[in-house]
Every structure is written in C-alpha cells, then in structure tokens.
Amino acid sequence: MAWETVIGLEIHAQLATRSKIFSGSATAYGALPNTQANLVDLGYPGVLPVLNVEAVRMAVMFGLAIGAEVAPRSVFARKNYFYPDLPKGYQISQYELPIVARGHLDVVLEDGATKRIGITRAHLEEDAGKSLHENMGGNTGVDLNRAGTPLIEIVSEPDMRSAKEAVAYMKKVHTLVRYLGICDGNMQEGSFRCDANVSVRPQGEAKFGTRAEIKNINSFRFVEKAINYEIARQIDVIEGGGKVVQETRLYDPDRGETRSMRSKEEANDYRYFPDPDLLPVEISPATLAAVRAALPELPDAKAQRFQTQYGLSPYDAGVLTASIELADYYETVVRELKGEPKLVANMVMGDLAGLLNRDGLDIGASRVSARSLAALLARIVDNTISGKIAKDVFLAMWEQGSEADAIIQAQGLTQITDESAIERAIDAVMAANPGQLADYRAGKDKLFGFFVGQVMKATQGKANPARLNELLKKKLSG
C-alpha cells in the first residue's frame, strides 16, 4: 500500500531580547548556573511578572512578515504543571488568544516548485529552566538562567508531506527570524528548536492518521532523520496489524531512533486560564504601522530583487539570500567590484562556500572579507590573472590571510598577455614536439589541447587563455 505522510511543526524560537520576557534578568547564554535568575525568575512569594515590550514588538514583526493577523488584543494564560525547572508551577504562555494567527510561508521544494505552508498561530511564552543530571552526585540540579527567556512558538498547519518539506519549511522560518533580527537561530544553544507532529495515512485517504509528537529536535539534520524514522516506524506498526498510539516521543540522535516518552493518557491537564497578573496585550493600529515601516527587506523580496537586479537564476538568488549575512556579503563584493554579479555569485557559491563548509564556518567568520574578495576578482576582470589562477590565489588568501595583490606579486602569478612572450613559449613547444606538430597538421585536431597544456605548463599557467588560443591556432596552422 502507498502511504502519505502528514507533518506539522511547532517551532520554538528564542527572541533576541536583552532581558527576559517578564523580568529584568539578562538572557545571555552560557553564564554560570542561576546567576541570571532574579526573584521573579525564581518564582519567589509575592513577585509579579511585568511584560517586556520588546518581546511583543518582535512577535508583531514576525506576524507581519508571514502575512498573518496580528491580534489587537491577546491574552497571557497560565499553563499549569509541576516540574523542578518550572519555578512557579506554571508557564506563562498564550492559549485562546495568541498574538499572531493565520499566516503562511512559501517554500521552494527540491523540484523547484513552490509550496505554501500555513501557519496556524504564533504565540509568546516564557521558557523553562534546565534540569541538570550530570555531575550532581546522583541528585538533580536546577539552573534557572533560561527560565523566563522569551520564546515565540510558531505552529504550522499539517501541510507538509515529507521530511524534506518539513526541513525546507523549518529552514525558511530560520532564515526569516534571522532576517528580522528577532532570533539568533543558534540551534546548538537551543535558540531554535522544534517539535514535529507526524502521522501517516493511506494515499488518497482524507482523514488524518493518529499522530506522534517528536519533542525538542535541535538540528535540521535531526529533523529529517527523526521524521523519516518515525514515518517508517508508523508504517511498520500499521502494516504489522497494529495501531499507532497518540503519544509524545523523543528523538535519540545517537541511536537515530525515536522512543516513547509519554502516552496521551499520561499527558498533563494543563488547566490553562488567563493569567490574572498580566493585562491583555493591546496592539494599536499606530504600533502596527510603525513596526511594519521598520521591517527589513524579507528573504523572498530579496531573492526576487537579486534575480532582477543581478540577473541571477532563481536557484542562485535563493542560495545567496538564505542568510542575511551571506546576502550582505554578496552585495558588498558586487558593490566593491562595481558589477560582475555572476562572477561574484560563482565565486561565493563555489570556492567560498566550499572553504566555509570545509572549515565549518559561517559567512560571518569568513577568513576572506568581502572587500578582499572583490580585490581578487578585480584582477580577473582586468586580466591580471585567469579565473583558474584566481582559485589558487583565493585558497592562498584563505590560508595565509593575505591580500590578493600581495600573493599575485609574491608568486609571480601575473598573467602573460604580452604576445611576444606567448609566441616565444609557443615556438619552444612546437620545436620540442615535432611529431605532434606533424600529426596536428595532418588533421589530428584533438592535439590542440595538448599544445595548450604544454604552453600553460611552460608559462606556469600564466598565459592569458584567450590570447594563447588565438596565437596558437595561428602558429599551428603554419
């Protein structure tokens, strides 16, 4: 039987505010345990939450960026459950009236087609702290530095039909929140993580199958693996005559499998009710307009502009706008070079991307700055070096941290464009290879490449290729 997969994602993005959502504590990552937890974060008797308006502004930005409705009035609610890293015994979240509802994002699939993924809602909430089990001498430690960190939970419609679609959507959200500057997107530190709701149903069936929720997946690769594992597991269960049970599962990246955490029966009754300590959040039309006016250029708009302004293919424009830093880098190089957008695109997506990838670096940590890369490409444009030599120079720049001109000069890589020098090299090669010359003249055209190679070898690759071709053709034909 053919099976169809149905996936919905709940993405938690940590908002990049300086202080927590309901207290003045800092949100910086990596501080010593409990050094960024004040009395409000600790849930001390008598303390009260006060909403951080910056978190609200960021949520509104997100809502506007996904074409959603931003609620003029939204309400914080308490989600009640006991856990040591949840100091108050409830999490302040939004339930019936979230700040953002009914938006969407368009994602480009592998076949180049565009698919619209619905976003049911996005709401503000506070993060919990962390329970520490290691090096605690058999006890459990509680670190409340993260408690009260602002999150936006982005809930999609069950619109995705494969793990790849889910990853494409998650990447799109990741790109967007980083464009908006509302989340640093750091997945290792847990700033951007997701829960995946996965079910399968027979192809053509209208009713959804029973879903399992896979909790807290913190990398794109794990999302794909976890979903694919889960799809296979569910199909196995059904084909083996069993039934998928509604449950919460955890993905174990070491074993590459998901396993049951708790069933629906064991699920908490969270007893949500409006938090009487906080007033409803009201967003006036004026606030909305001000936030809208301050929105940066969004990924789709930027990709569109890259196609029209730089003549790039949709694919190249998509790659170059995948992060705002990469797009900025690209545009800086083009601006410095005063043109050659395709040459720049090839270099950025080829050699630069390759070395970044090899060294596990982000564009922000590139060893060659946009300005330096522009200086290198300028030497191709002015025929000082060939594109092939440029690749070597770029590698040298990356490894040594020096500038293109210094390397070209030190290694004597300046391209030979002087005709007499090239002619001398051609003459020497012809004289040294009389047999090949005779064969070529007898009609063995393929040997042209041989002569190009020999001349390049003799000039250490510095002969201007176009000039060489031209002169060689003339000389060989006698």
């Binding site: 009395l39 008797p45 008598g46 009260l48 939450p49 308490r78 006991f82 108050k88 009754d269 009710f273």
Partner: protein
C-alpha cells in the same frame, strides 16, 4: 498614649511631646503582654523597631521628618519584609525570610513608619475566623472565646486592643472588612489596582487588594495616601494620581445619595445587626444624605462565584510552594513526586488544601466551561449590577457581616457556613470596588460594622463619609475594658 490615633501620635511626635522610641517601647510592651491572650502577632521585631525608632527620632530632632515619621505600625504577615520572617500564616513558610520588601512595606517605611512586627492571619489569607493559621487562632479582644474574623484577624485584634495604632491588611473576599467589623475597628479595602500587590503573597490575584485596619477613617486616609499609587512592578496597579485623602475628609454630606442594598437585608441577617445599620443610616441622613433602596439582583450569587474564581487562582498561585527553592521541604524525599506530595502535604493546612483541590477541579478539562468560565460571566453580571447602581447613588451601604463575632470552633466543621460569613463583602472584590467597614454599635456587647461601598477609585468619598460618620459617633473610640 496607646489609645491615640495615628493622626494624634504623628502630631505628638512632631510636637516633641513623645519620642518614637518611647512609643515603640510602650507598644512593644503591650504586644508582649497581650500575646498569650490574643495571639495577634506571628513575629515581633523589637530590636529592628527600636533601631528604626531611634533613626526616626534623629530625623524628628533634625526637623526633616515626614508626616508619619516615627509612627509605629504592624504589617500583616502576608507582606514580604526584607530580612524578617514572612510566614503567610503557614507552616509552608514558617521559616521563610524574605529577601525583599513588598511595595506597601517599602512605601510605608519611606513615609517614616516603624514596623513593630507581623500580624497573625488565616493561612495564605484563606479563612474568615483566623482559625486556619499554623500559628494558632487569634482571639477577639472583645471576647476571647470568640474569633476576630479573618483573614486579617491579627491586624484587627491588634488595633482593637490598641497593641498598635494601625496595621496593614489584605482583602480578597472580605478579609479586611469582616475582621474590622468583628473587632470594632475601621477597615478599608481600596479599589483593585489602587495599591501595589508586589510583595503581597498572592491568594487570588484578580481579587487580592492591600489595605488598612485603623481606629479611624482619618488614619486610614493618612496611611492610604502613603501606600497607594502605581507600581511598575505590578502590571495590574493603575497609573492614576493619588488624591490627598485627608484633604477631603470634612466635605459635608449634604446631597450624598446613599443606596441601601436590598439584597444585604436577607434572611441570614441578625435582626440586631439590621437595627444597628438602620440607626447608623439615620446618622448619615441627619447630615443631609438621601437614602434610597437599590437592588443588585445578581449579588446573591457572589459566594458561589467567589468560591470558583478564588480557588482556581489559588490552585495556580500556590503551585510555587513545591519544596524545591524555598519554604517547607519534607525529610528525605524518595523521589520528585514524593518531594512534592509530602512537602505540600505537610506544609499546607486543611483549608488551603481544600481550596487548591476545588480550584484544580474547576480548571480541569471538561469542567472549565461549567465552573470557571461561568463564574467569570456571573462576575461580569455582578460588576454590571454595581455599575448600574452607581448611576443612581454615590455609595451603597449595608452590614459588613450577617452577625457579630462567633465563637471559636463554631463554624469549623462546615466550611460552607464559614464561607457564608463573607456573603456581604465578596461582591466588592468581584467587582474590584473600594469598600470600608466602620464600627456602628454593639449587639449583645459585640461590635458591628457598617459597610460602605463606592465606585472605582472613590476612596476619597468613602473616607469622607466614614469620617463624617465618626465625627457624630464614638463607636470607633470604644476599647474593650481589658485593653484600655
């Protein structure tokens, strides 16, 4: 001196007729002497009080004293006080030392008052008789066999026995007004949002409001002016100027429209109390107030509505007492569940547990709509009833409680009987309205309170009416024989 009001003491201190140190010593002695009989205090902070009094005396001598500098007061043990124990009347917090001052404490300290100690109260402010306190019941100074009312029973008994001239208190369903009535003192619950709740340990956040128990309306005006006002640390506090309450006290009552609350004169009302209320209203009429009857048809639903909303909020507010970070923790927990169950099981008393369970139930899936949501709707209707009434009258009046003080143990076996003692006070909490209780006579030797409820932020008017009433009567000056 111990019979003096806050206003009188402040004047004496200013006139250097007495020092703060002398006052503090005298009141501390009275507190010590009364503790075995009344149990009005949970903690007495003698050393700190004397140090603060000495500082106040220096300021008085230097001539840079504020209006309340050197005046001794007490705080209900629900307000967090930095460096001293704040128990909320519970075993759960029996050894809890707060690291910070509540806004109310901070402001009254800034105004110059000297805190003598923390008054006894029903556990987590849940009770109407002060019998749920982990630290034992408070006794009514008018008759030690009887309760002082609750939950601010310690504050009311302390002021009634003149152990302190005034004390802070809180009111969620009548916890200021009911004990004030039962102890023969003045109690004001301000408008919800008038006084910051920061540092006031939460029982039911949408109903809790800090206020005062004093001898007179004038004292309440002086102290309320110092503690009220917007606090950026409490989102539900209202950013609105605080009037000079004392300035409006003498305003004549001519033209005041008084609405007699029909629903309060029900079958449960003791006829002796009813007679005292009617007599009290004549005092107002004689000063030119006009009396009409008003009806609030949904008001009889107050008690069931309250006992859904308040427990719901308390079940969530009290979840933080889990034995993990502060408060009572059981010995040798086996695991996390055991830690939770035993810490909370041992730390909370029966009434608190009853309300946590009720609240958990009404918020549960499948019951939320039938209980919590419905109660919120009824709450709206009650608010609308009041709003309608205030279209026709300036204040509404009635008894504070159906009866005078009852005996200890009389209502502990049936919680509902106990809950019904708040039947006349709960409405103002549900609607967020300011209300006060002033002594208006004695029934069989026990004090009775007249309740005056106003529209939102009408504290000035309420204090004015109460003050004009107190100018014509002396019920508020009566002190039990033993405590004169």
């Amino acid at each position: 001196m111990h019979l003096e009001t806050v206003a009188g003491l402040a004047a004496a201190l200013k006139g250097r007729k007495v020092s703060s140190t002398e006052l503090v010593r005298a009141f501390l002695e009275r507190i010590q002497a009364a503790q075995g009989k009344l149990n009005a205090f949970i903690s007495v902070e003698g050393a700190a009080a004397l140090a603060a009094a000495a500082a106040a005396d220096r300021r008085l001598a230097a001539g840079d004293a504020g209006p309340l500098t050197g005046v001794p007061i007490a705080h209900k043990d629900i307000f967090c006080t930095a460096g001293t124990r704040t128990t909320c009347g519970s075993r759960m917090l029996a050894n809890f030392v707060s690291p910070y001052d509540a806004t109310v404490v901070e402001r009254l300290k800034a105004a110059g008052t000297v805190m003598l100690g923390k008054t006894n109260m029903d556990e987590f402010a849940m009770g109407s008789s002060n019998e749920t306190s982990w630290f034992g019941p408070v006794r009514n100074p008018w008759d030690p066999k009887r309760v002082p009312g609750g939950s601010s029973g310690g504050s009311a008994a302390a002021v009634a026995a003149r152990l302190v001239p005034a004390a802070t208190a809180t009111d969620t369903g009548g916890s200021i007004r009911q004990p004030a009535a039962l102890c023969g003192v003045t109690g004001i619950k301000p408008t919800y949002g008038r006084v910051s709740r920061y540092g006031m340990i939460a029982f039911a956040s949408s109903l809790d409001q800090g206020g005062l128990i004093t001898q007179t309306a004038e004292d309440a005006a002086l102290l309320l002016g110092a503690m009220a006002g917007f606090d950026p640390r409490d989102s539900t506090s209202v950013d609105r100027p605080v009037p000079d309450y004392a300035a409006g006290l003498e305003r004549p009552l001519a033209g005041l429209r008084v609405g007699l609350l029909k629903e309060f004169f029900d079958a449960g009302l003791d006829p002796a109390v009813a007679a005292l209320i009617r007599a009290a209203l004549q005092v107002l009429e004689r000063q030119g107030a006009t009396l009409t009857e008003v009806s609030l048809p949904n008001l009889p639903l107050s008690v069931p509505t309250y006992y859904v909303v308040a427990p719901a909020e308390c079940s969530s507010n009290l979840a933080r007492f889990d034995g993990v970070r502060f408060g009572h923790r059981c010995e040798n927990p086996r695991d996390l569940t055991d830690l939770y169950c035993r810490s909370r099981g041992e730390g909370f008393g029966a009434e608190v547990k009853r309300r946590i369970m009720t609240g958990t139930y009404v918020l549960s899936a499948g019951y939320y709509d039938a209980y919590y949501l419905k109660a919120q709707k009824v709450r709206q209707l009650i608010s609308q009833d009041f709003a309608r009434a205030f279209g026709a009258v300036d204040v509404v009046v009635g008894p504070t409680t159906p009866t005078a003080a009852f005996e200890l143990g009389a209502k502990t076996s049936d919680p509902v009987t106990m809950y019904l003692n708040d039947i006349y006070t709960i409405g103002a909490n549900l609607a967020g309205l300011p209300a006060l209780s002033v002594p208006c006579g004695f029934a069989a030797g026990l004090p009775v309170g007249l309740q005056i409820i106003g529209s939102h932020f009408s504290e000035e008017r309420l204090l004015n009416v109460a003050h004009r009433f107190q100018r014509e009567t002396d019920w508020h000056r009566r002190v039990p024989q033993e405590w004169r």
